[in-house]
Symmetry: C2
Subunit: 214 residues, 2 copies
Amino acid sequence: MSFPPRYTIEPQTRRPRRRAEESRRQIVDAAVDQIADAGFHGMSIAEVAAASGISQSGLLHHFPSKAALLAAVLERHEHDDNEFLFGDGSTPLGWAAFDALVSLAARNSTRPEWVAVFVRVSAEATEADHPAHDWLKRHYSSTSSWLVEAIEDGVRLGSMHPDMPARLVSGNTIGLLDGIQQQWLVNPKGIDMVAHVREHVHLLKSRWALPASA
Amino acid sequence: MSFPPRYTIEPQTRRPRRRAEESRRQIVDAAVDQIADAGFHGMSIAEVAAASGISQSGLLHHFPSKAALLAAVLERHEHDDNEFLFGDGSTPLGWAAFDALVSLAARNSTRPEWVAVFVRVSAEATEADHPAHDWLKRHYSSTSSWLVEAIEDGVRLGSMHPDMPARLVSGNTIGLLDGIQQQWLVNPKGIDMVAHVREHVHLLKSRWALPASA
DNA sequence: GTCTATACCTCGATAGAC
DNA sequence: GTCTATCGAGGTATAGAC
C-alpha cells in the first residue's frame, strides 16, 4: 500500500491544447503543399500525414474527413486574403479597390503555393457536388459584390463615370486576375502578374476615370 | 479434300476499320462528359467504358492508357477550335482577331461540356508532370503569339495604336477569356460570356483603335 | 492525442480466351 | 476487336490499444 507524497510536481500534461493547435497547423501546411501540387482530388491524406510527421489516423483525429481538411485550408486562405485587403478595417472605395487588387497580385507573386491551391480548387469546385462548391460560389459572389460596391461608391464620389458597367467590369477584372494566375503558374518567369493587372487597371482608368472634383 | 467453290460471297468482315472508328468516337464522347464532370484526375476509364458500352479492356484496346485517351480528347478540342477560328484558311488580323474571340465565346456558350473540359484540364495541367502539361504550354504560347501577331499586323495596317502593349494585352485577353469561362460554369444563368468578352474588346478599342485610314 | 491494424473500395493495367 | 478474370497499388475511413 502506498500513499501519494504530500507535495507533488504535477506532470503538467505538456499543454495538450497547445500541442493540438500546433499539429493542426502543421497538417494544414502540408495539405496546402499537396493541393498546390496535385489538387484536392490528387491529394491523399496519407501523404499529407507523412509530410506533417503524423500517422494517417492521427490526422483524421484532427480533421475527421478529407473534406474537413480542405475546409480548413480554404478558411485559412480566405482569412489571409481578407487580412491583407481589409487589414485596417476599412474597405477600399472607388479606384482604391482596383489598386488593392494590384497589390494583391504583387503579394501572390510571392506565394505560388497559394496561387496553385486557388487555381486548382477553383477549377475542381466548379462541379456541383465538389466539397468546395459552396465556398467557390460564396467567393465569387462576395468578391464581385465588393467590387461592384466600390464602383458605385466611385461613381457617387465623382471619380468614376456613371456609364461604367459595374457588373461587367467587376466580372472581367476578377476573371482576368484568375486567368493570369493560371498563366503565371505555367510560366512564372515569363509572366509578370503585377504588370498585367496594372495594365488592365490603367486601361479601365483611361476609359472611366473622371478628373478628381474637389 | 475439298475445293473452294468457284464463286463465293466473301463474308466481307463488316468493315472492321469503320467499326473501330465508331468505337473510338463513342469512347472519346464519353470521356469528354466524364472529364467535364470530374476532371482528368476524377475520371475513371472504367466509367468511361461503361458509358460508351464497352468493357474496360475493350477501351484499353483502342487507347492503351488513360493519358492516351486524354490526348485524343484534347486533339479533338483543338481541332474543333482551329476549324472554327481558321476554318476558311485565313488568319484574322488586327481587330478581327479580337472579334473572332467574341464569336468563340458565343460558340462556347453552346458547349458547356467543352468549356468544362478546358477549365479543368488547364488547371490540372499546370502541374509539371501532368500528362497534358506540354499541351497546355503549347496552347498558351500558340494562342498568345497568334494574338500578338494580330496586334502587330493591326499596327502595321494603321488600325491599332503603336503604343499598344501587345504581350500584356494578349495575355490579359486570354486570361479574361479563361476566367470568365470559369465563372460561367459556376453560374451559367448569371453570367453572359459574350457580353463580358465584348465589353473587354470595346474597352481595348476605345483606348487603342485608330481611325481607319484609307 | 497518437498509434497499429485492417476493412473495404476503386483504380489502371495485363493476360489470355474467344 | 471484345470479352472475363485478375493483379497490385493506393485510396478513405474505422476499431481499438496505449
